[in-house]
């Protein structure tokens, strides 16, 4: 394993130290316990928006801390959800006195740790609401399983809820908005090559020369099925089909469309995939009203991409367009 690191056990902390030095104007990093918080937090009278999860998905979540998006993020170890004490500290730091929203990706570990933290916070009189993001169509849903994973919709929910909080919406309304975003968003991902977590030191799965994994998550897990490599046109069509059919997205819908890189896939390929996606949506009468192409929710050095579509109304589009100033997403300021 060759990486730009010093000690596999220190990657997360040392990377956060660099983040703090690079963006001192936007955020602060605390280490005991580890969390990242807006430089001007807490913003009194504003609902706090907090998220977190395992590291290795950068820029999500720490890179989305800043005005108009997250008030705080709690990065766990690589691919390991943060612990309740981190989440509790981040929540306290983000609490402007009118409550805090937890945006939680649906993974057993994340859900349980955020649950325990919420109990600790509520015991201290902080109003906490949690919304579980579960937009991954690659996972069959059922009452008897852990349910669908939270993936790309998390990025959109953090931006949109962050904007609503900035506008002064109250906790009830932001919680409802976050559920609405989650309910109207669907995603699917694929991998051309696995990733190598620093502490493990070897790829999380093996792929043959001509093989790809369809339906992967963001933790280096293998996908739902393995298949032969196919041209981008076919891969994009398969993913789009699965996403559109699931909600379903209908002719006339306006969407926020994201083509996300898993970490090691160059922009030249992501834009090529976006071109395919946009054409596919066009033929279905679905309009990509907003577009996002790049690395936003990654899986270390995995090669591949994911597609996320969010059915958006005027309100959601307006919140999307609101100013955002974070290391990972910035416009309007």
């Amino acid at each position: 394993m060759k990486k730009l690191i010093n000690d596999p056990e220190q990657v997360v902390r040392e990377s956060l130290a660099g983040l703090a030095r690079a963006h001192a104007d936007i955020l602060k990093v605390c280490f005991e316990p580890v969390y990242v918080v807006r430089a001007d937090a807490p913003v009194t009278g504003k609902v706090g928006v907090v998220s977190g999860g395992g590291s290795g998905h950068e820029p999500m979540h720490a890179g989305f801390v800043g005005r108009g998006m997250l008030d705080a993020a709690c990065p766990g170890e690589i691919f390991t959800s943060p612990t309740p004490d981190q989440i509790e500290a981040a929540t306290r730091a983000a609490d402007g006195g009118v409550g805090v929203l937890h945006i939680v990706k649906n993974y057993t570990g994340d859900v349980m740790n955020f649950e325990m933290a919420a109990e600790l916070c509520q015991a201290q009189g902080i109003a906490v609401r949690a919304v579980i993001i579960n937009d991954d169509v690659a996972v069959e849903d059922s009452l008897y399983t852990a349910g669908r994973r939270g993936v790309g919709a998390t990025v959109l929910a953090e931006k949109i809820c962050g904007a609503a909080a900035e506008r002064g919406w109250d906790l009830d309304r932001i919680e409802a908005l976050c559920r609405r975003v989650n309910d109207n968003a669907r995603s699917m991902g694929m991998a051309l090559a696995p990733c190598t977590p620093p502490a493990a030191g070897r790829p999380t799965f093996e792929l043959g020369a001509g093989e790809i994994e369809m339906g992967i998550g963001i933790h280096g897990e293998p996908g739902r099925f393995r298949t032969k490599w196919a041209p981008a046109r076919e891969i994009a069509a398969q993913m789009t089909e699965a996403i559109v059919a699931d909600l379903p997205f209908r002719a006339g819908d306006r969407v926020i469309a994201m083509v996300n890189g898993m970490g090691a896939t160059p922009l030249v390929e992501l834009y090529l995939v976006y071109g395919e996606l946009d054409r596919l949506l066009e033929t279905r009468g679905i309009r990509a009203a907003r577009k996002l192409v790049g690395n936003f929710i990654t899986s270390l050095d995995m090669a591949g991409c994911s597609i996320t579509l969010l059915r958006a109304d005027d309100e959601i589009l307006a919140l999307w367009d609101d100013p955002v100033l974070t290391p990972g997403l910035r416009w309007g300021v």
Partner: protein, 210 residues
């Protein structure tokens, strides 16, 4: 051994640290197959932190030692295993509250309480391909061995054997909880990492307290 005091609990936890360090790669490899390749790393990190903690201030009675373990694991393990084993020790501590030494029935009660906590926290059931598939049969076997008049040694041995069978029984199962469930049918044919670490938990108690 007559009964399990604070010293024995600490001995168990220290032995667990060695065991998880020694099985770090095995547990991580099992997790790589159907999860995200960090289970061994998570437990190793947690129990290493726990030992440092235990050396800093030595808890006197069983409940104190178990609570220290709970708090430390919840703080340092993360992932699914953190809250799950954390809750296990939290409930185990509660069940042992006020006792300076645990007689065999108390030890079984401690495991029962801990496992009940895991089931509540994770909302999983037997056959979901989780650590519960090792833990539930283990407490069941301990109860039976106790009822049959077994001493601490027999009781724990029975628990360890049942945990091992339960662990092996996860191989053919299709996961319904945890990360492995995202693989659907592909999760079958692999031994669950958490069931494996759970078996080590019980087996180590049997080894240390025999």
């Amino acid at each position: 051994m007559p009964a399990v005091g604070g010293g024995e609990i600490r001995a168990w936890l220290k032995a667990l640290r060695e065991v998880y360090a020694g099985n770090r790669d095995l547990l991580t490899a099992l997790d790589a197959a159907i999860g995200d390749a960090d289970h061994g790393i998570n437990l190793d990190r947690g129990f290493t932190a726990l030992i440092t903690e235990l050396d800093r201030n030595v808890p006197a009675d069983p409940a104190a030692a178990l609570r220290a373990a709970a708090v430390c694991l919840i703080r340092s393990v993360g992932g699914a295993a953190g809250p799950l084993y954390g809750t296990f020790f939290l409930r185990a501590a509660a069940a042992s509250a006020g006792k300076t030494a645990l007689e065999p029935p108390d030890v079984v009660a401690m495991f029962e309480a801990g496992v009940a906590g895991v089931a509540e926290r994770g909302k999983a059931a037997a056959g979901d391909k989780t650590m519960l598939d090792a833990l539930l049969p283990a407490v069941e076997a301990m109860r039976r061995a106790l009822a049959d008049g077994g001493g601490l040694g027999e009781v724990l041995e029975a628990g360890a054997r049942a945990a091992e069978e339960g662990m092996k029984s996860t191989i053919p199962l299709v996961a319904r909880k945890g990360r492995a469930s995202y693989l659907g049918l592909r999760s079958a044919g692999h031994q669950d990492p958490g069931a494996t670490s759970a078996w080590l938990l019980v087996r180590t108690a049997a080894a240390v307290w025999r």
